[in-house]
Amino acid sequence: MIKLDDIWKAFHHNQVLKGIDLEVRKGEVVVLLGPSGSGKSTLLRCINCLERADKGTIRIGDLEVDTAQLRKPQIAALRRKTTMVFQNYNLFRNKTALENVMEGLVVVQGIPVKVARERSAACLDKVGLGDRFNHFPSQLSGGQQQRVGIARAMAMDPEVILFDEPTSSLDPEVVGGVLDVMKGLARDGMTMVVVTHEMAFAREVANHVAFMDGGVIVEEGTPAQVFERTRELRTRAFLQRVRRDGPALAGPAPAGAAAIPGAGPAGGGLPALQR
C-alpha cells in the first residue's frame, strides 16, 4: 500500500530524516512515536509533499515516485491519494463546516455540488456533527473543529489518511471524542499513519508502531513488541519519560528499565489511559 524507501530530508544544515524505510499495508494503522524533533511530523509531511524529501522513493498504491526528481503531476497524484489531519485543524476559516468538507470534492474531484453536499453531510453525521453544518470554524470548539478536519479528510475517500498529532492541541476532555472517531475509521478499514503521543490509542488501535529518534526509526513492531518487549535503550527511555509525565501506561516496566538514568517508576496496571 505505502512503501517509503530510504527517505532523507534536511532543513538547511539540519538533517532531519536519515534514511527512513517504512511499509504500511492496506487497512493498517501505523503509529509513529518519538520525542519532539525526531522527524515524525516531517516524515508524514514528506508523504504528501508538504515537505519535499531530498532523496528516496515513495510508493502509494500503484504510484511510485522518486523524491529527488518530483514533478508537479506526481505531487498532484500523491496528494490525490492522501489527505491529512493537522494538529491545528487548519479548517478553511472562510468556509462553513459543510463547505470545508465539500471543498475538495467539488474543486478537486469535480463532483456535482448536490452530490458533494450529500456525501459531506454524511461524513459530518458520522463524526457526530450533524447539527453543525452551517457553523464557521470560529463558532466551533477545538474538538468539533478537529472532527470536521477528519470528516474533510475521509470525504475525499483517500487511500490513506495522515494524522499529524491530531489531539495535541485539544483540551483533555475532548481528546476522547476525537480518538473515538479515529478508532471508528480504523474499524472501517481505513489505512492510517498517525503521529501521536496517545500511548493508549497506539496500544489499542495500531497494528504497527514505529519509534523514531534523531531522524531514524529506532525500533518498530507490533504494539506488544514495542511497548512490552522493548529492545532499544532509547525507546525504553522515551517510554519511561512518557509514563512518568503522562498518566500511567500499561504494562510492567521492562527488565532493566530501572537501570536507565533518570527513569522514574513505571506506572503499573493495564490500560489506565482511559479518557
Binding site: N48, M84, F92, R93, T96, F136, Q139
Partner: protein, 240 residues
C-alpha cells in the same frame, strides 16, 4: 460687500454635482486597476519571482517616494513621448493628441495607488496562517486554487479597512487632476469661483461635497467589512 454670499454658495452645488461623476470615475477606475496591479505586485514579492521581484521593489519604492503631482506630470508629459516613439518605430496609426487627459490621470493614479495597495495586500496575505494553504494542498488543490478560494478571501477581510482608507485618500487626491486640465470637482470649483469672483464660498461647498463622498465610502466599507468578516466572529449562523 457681504461676508458670506449664501445665495452664491447654494448656487454652486448643482454645478459641482454635475462633475461629481468625473471624480467618481477617476476614483473607481484607478481603484479597480490598482487592486489588480497591486495583487500581481504583491504575489511577485511573496513568491520572490526572480527578476520581477527586484523590479517590483524598485517600483514600490519610487511610487511611494515621489509626490503624486510629479507622477501626474510624468504621466502627462512622458506617456505621449513613449507613444510617439513607438508610433514612429512601428508605424502605428495613433494620434497622441487625441488621447483625453483623463487617461493620463488613470495611469498616474493607478501607478501611485497600486504601490500602496501592494504593500497592504502583501501584509494581508502574509497574515493568513500558512496552515490554510497547507490544508488546501492536502485535499489536492493547486496553489492557485488555494490562493483564490481560501487565502485571498481571508486576506480580503484583513485588507478591507486599509482599502477603505486608500479609497478615501484617492478621492481627495483626484483634486490634483485639474493640474492637467481635467475638470473634476476641484477644477469646476476654481472655474465657478473665478466666474463669480467669490472663492471662499465655492471652496466651502466643494469641501462639503468631498466630505460627503468620503463619509459614504466609509459607510460602504463598513458594510462590506461586515460581509467579508462574517466567518470570523460570533455572527449568526448562516442560513443554508
Amino acid at each position: 460687500m457681504k461676508l458670506f454670499d449664501f445665495q452664491f454658495f447654494l448656487s454652486t452645488f448643482p454645478e459641482l454635482a454635475r462633475v461629481i461623476p468625473v471624480t467618481l470615475k477617476i476614483t473607481i477606475v484607478a481603484m479597480l486597476a490598482s487592486v489588480v496591479t497591486a495583487l500581481a505586485v504583491a504575489l511577485v514579492r511573496i513568491y520572490r519571482i526572480p527578476g520581477l521581484r527586484q523590479l517590483a521593489a524598485v517600483y514600490v519604492s519610487f511610487a511611494r517616494g515621489t509626490p503624486m503631482l510629479v507622477q501626474i506630470y510624468l504621466s502627462y508629459y512622458g506617456i505621449p513621448l513613449v507613444v510617439q516613439f513607438l508610433r514612429d518605430k512601428y508605424g502605428w496609426n495613433l494620434d497622441v493628441s487625441q488621447i483625453p487627459a483623463i487617461v493620463f490621470i488613470y495611469f498616474a493614479f493607478t501607478f501611485n495607488v497600486a504601490a500602496y495597495l501592494s504593500e497592504t495586500i502583501r501584509a494581508a496575505i502574509l497574515a493568513i496562517d500558512k496552515g490554510q494553504m497547507e490544508a488546501s494542498l492536502s485535499v489536492g488543490m493547486s496553489s492557485l486554487q488555494g490562493l483564490r478560494r481560501i487565502v485571498l478571501p481571508q486576506a480580503l477581510a484583513v485588507a478591507l479597512p486599509s482599502f477603505g482608507n486608500t479609497a478615501i485618500a484617492l478621492v481627495k487626491d483626484t483634486s490634483l487632476a485639474f493640474m492637467i486640465s481635467v475638470v473634476e470637482m476641484m477644477g469646476e470649483a476654481k472655474i465657478l469661483g473665478a466666474r463669480g469672483l467669490r472663492f471662499f464660498e465655492v471652496y466651502v461647498a466643494v469641501a462639503l461635497v468631498y466630505w460627503a463622498i468620503c463619509i459614504i465610502i466609509e459607510r460602504l466599507v463598513a458594510l462590506g467589512e461586515k460581509r467579508v468578516r462574517r466567518f470570523e466572529g460570533l455572527s449568526a449562523v448562516r442560513p443554508s
